[in-house]
Symmetry: D2
């Protein structure tokens, strides 16, 4: 089995999770270095990571020919710059979403990657979720016929920390960008038109910060499928993640996952579990499988299964959604 | 469409339900008379029943040649006598279960019916329940292969009135007789051996009256299938009625019915409905369909779909179950 | 119990169903006459309806003081005229939806009814469905908090006969008018704005006749709730009828009903039943309960639980939906 | 965090799984050596295990004071001998079930462990399954009241290799020993009496080898709860693992786990997934959690959460079950 030496850049909540997954599930992957100015060093030490670097040491580390790949999980605003530097160093990379907040910015990253001829996989983890990927395959095999309507429910269990809102990019870029990718993924179509109804229903402070927290989003895909997304920053019963594709020959739907399948029946009611509470538990398997795909791509020197263009398209839809919300009009995508 | 004139004998809770079902669903059936010494006359009048008779008027009524059939829903202890009289009058009949409390008593009824050449259908309504009959058909079509294990759950929502216990015939004859019939129905096999574990867990007063309220019953069928029945006089969450047939090629199971399919998700739990509360709601459709079968049998002059021998076999199993409980030994049936 | 003598005007598929339900479930209701020029007389005779009238005999029949109410289930185009005549005769009435195809037409009916001081209940049967009404009550009791998003799925099992399309009023007026009423019913809010994406995906012939067969409809309610409706003229797996209300404190949803709760597990898959095939089975209970409400209203001389204004509002939304589809713009309601 | 150095004895299918779980989930556990005469050395090398030993090197390895614990996953027939040797070396240990095939043999192991004052945890992994342990906790908290009936379904997806049958100990000792432990676990009661109905229904060759493949087992617990187990060596639809506890105040049940929650609806049926195929997938989490408990016990120097006495009791029930099958009589346990 080929051994991969990787550097992980950025070790906040997501970066740590990636490091732990790499150590747990990928015996052939060695995390050679972590690059983070504020790393949790006790945590890093307990895992036996050999090198803990400051951000100004990254370029030196990239020049090490034994390094095979870089995992980028730094702040979103640094992604494009990091992608450029990693590409220039000739290394393959995985980058968390969002790569950037406009299609133009992402194009800069695409250019860098293409020029360098390296692989860039983007962190649209939901494509690797067993439920969602089963739906995609079922649709691709024609088992529901021509897809007519896609329904996506994406509701977070708890409104984010208000400090996060200003640098989040807003609801569409931060949160629904996943749904836009899911719509493209399950239909294998591009989005032609977007219409949004949205408002601040969860927390007025989110509105004061210029964002919304509740929306319904309608998409028209380029081969005729419609898609509706309903989304909220807060579902008190947990992380509500459902997907349905309805077509000429049938329908396939994924319901929420729960921790157990127990049901308690009493004189009052039948109680079952609420859905899993956060993306960490809900997409645990997806996070593992996206790295499996990444290293398989590296081994095969093939092209990324989820590439920078997917990131760019999803962001373009998010930008159009913002415009639709602002103008209260459907917005076409070029 | 052929018109049927019927007499209903016995109008307690079940008899009333039968009358109302006949009026609601069977435009071609006329309830010519009700025979009950303590009839709820206001109720009967409101339904427009032409004749409300005392029990000593039954034989005269039976001599009316326009009467096509008799529905017997009187006290169980009178069933055999009534069956004999109706048979002697040459009328077809439907009789509620149990026909009698011993196989020998039921044989008396069988003899009367056979001698008179009339039709007697027995009220094992669960055979007509859409769920249970779907299972029976699926098994009969071989879709689960050879049946290996049958599982029946039969739990009443609320312990019966203690006054009912002494004349009920006991748990097995009153309550599980349905399960014994279901085991025979879905396997199309006879019972060879019975073993019971049972006790008084719900209400000590039931024990003082010589009965039990909780049991597990194991049956060995004559072509090798096993059957386990778990039963209780009180399930606080409702009338728990489940059936499963597991075989060499798969399994088919029926879950409980509920009034609606709504689910409420809150921060605490997902709440759904408890099962339907009583046999009236749970087997409403079955009660209707068993009369459909009865009148179809009458019209076709064919033999009863659930006959007196089915009643006799179920009672024989109940008697063996009682013996098993008493002796703590498996008991064989001849 | 008060006895009600009714006349049923129009005995096509729906009218027949109403007559049969009245006979089966309402012992205190007598169908005195059926008015239909093309009545199925064998059917009517078998039910023992005393008078089978031609449409030109209606006014004479209405002058009979013993008549308490009229059930209108004639062609939609005749509804307003019939309502006027029944109102002028001083009779209470139940009228199938749609009352008319424009809010203005319906206003004519409203005026007639108000002037005459009679009761008019409109056939929005889904309000009486046990699942939907449970949801409405749960929302009204505040159990999901403030409603943020309502989701309605309304998919017919089979495209309608093409001959029906031109006189149907179109998808929104014929089919989604129920959903518009449901949105109003569960939120107790009025619709402020409508946006539609729609197309012909099921059958190009429906497009040739000027209608569409697939749509997603977004509603903004006047107290801030959003509603999304996804609809199709053909779901091959049956009549897909789901409703969900998501709010600040939780969510309540109704799943589809099926004939049985059986599940067959084989080496290949677990098979369960598709949803009920048509509105007749799915809303059987709702059809009964709406008449229960109607006769209760008559007895109490109270105002209709679903009145002509509800019909008018639903039609106004349908008209706005058509305009939105035509202009590809959100359309405001006054 | 305390570091634990362990030796794993026996690296067949289960032993390998344990090693891989230890490496993946327990950063503070080092597998210092594997002891197996037929080890898959390529597999062991790829995992970087430092020492791969023959069985005659075990005692020397045990004398190494740096070793903290031993995981025993060798052939069942060697378990008691291994436990004695590990205990004499003063090491704590985890041992796969079954420890032995008779209560007397297991007593030998218990004596050795008690004399040495070491910890022995037994591999009844199902106690750690999130569904089963949720049920145990719910019952322990009194949420279903006094338990009246426990129902356990244990069906293997595929009959075992016939070569395994003779050394398996038979259906009860090999397979249902888990269920006997589950009955004790959820009720916190001991078994008083066992009755079995069993036969060869899956494969006559299993019968030729002196075993059975299908059974229903009835248990009477010492505080009055009844338990019924239905079991089969082959359920074509997968590894069917269900548990239900019914009591005076309600019922709690765990349904099967599936890989995804997708449902495909077509004109024919609604298709969902069969249950997980084998114990490896079904009890993956339980296998991890039982080691978590083991190392927590070691760190706390407390007593084993599942000890040798639990193994002895389960085996005693299995032995009684065999006698019941042989004699067709209920068998009491001392």
């Amino acid at each position: 089995m080929k051994i991969f030496n990787v550097i992980v850049v950025g070790c906040g909540r997501i970066g740590k999770m990636h490091v732990e997954n790499l150590l747990a599930y990928f015996p052939n992957v060695t995390v050679q270095a972590i690059v983070d100015d504020n790393v949790d060093s006790e945590w890093a030490k307990s895992l036996g990571i050999p090198n803990i670097l400051q951000s100004d040491q990254l370029d030196a580390a990239l020049s090490d020919p034994s390094i095979d790949a870089v995992i980028i999980a730094a702040s979103s605003s640094e992604h494009v710059n990091l992608i450029q530097r990693v590409a220039q160093a000739g290394k393959n990379m995985f980058c968390e979403k969002p790569i950037g907040f406009t299609p133009e910015t992402i194009q800069v990253a695409i250019n860098a990657v293409e020029q360098a001829g390296v692989i860039l996989q983007v962190g649209f983890n939901r494509r690797f979720d067993p439920d969602f990927s089963r739906i995609q395959q079922t649709v691709a095999h024609g088992e529901v016929g021509l897809p007519h309507i896609v329904k996506i429910t994406n509701r977070d269990p708890r409104r984010p920390d208000l400090k996060f809102i200003p640098r989040s990019g807003g609801l569409f870029l931060d949160f629904n960008v996943h749904d836009f990718d899911t719509a493209r993924f399950v239909t294998q179509q591009e989005v032609k038109e977007v219409f949004v109804m949205g408002a601040v229903l969860v927390d007025p402070k989110i509105g004061e910060l210029g964002d919304i927290d509740t929306a319904t989003i309608s998409l028209k895909m380029d081969k005729g499928t419609f898609c509706i997304i309903d989304t909220s920053r807060e579902a008190v019963y947990g992380y509500d993640q459902r997907l349905e594709v309805f077509g000429s020959e049938g329908s396939i739907a994924a319901d929420n996952e729960t921790e157990t399948r127990t049901q308690l029946s009493t004189a009052d009611a039948v109680f079952s579990e609420t859905c899993l509470y956060s993306f960490v538990e809900r997409y645990q398997e997806a996070y593992r499988l996206q790295f499996e795909a990444f290293f398989a791509t590296l081994a095969a020197k093939s092209s990324a299964v989820v590439g920078a263009n997917d990131a760019k398209q999803a962001v373009a839809i998010a930008v159009a959604a913002s415009e639709s919300l602002r103008t209260n009009r459907p917005v076409s995508l070029k």
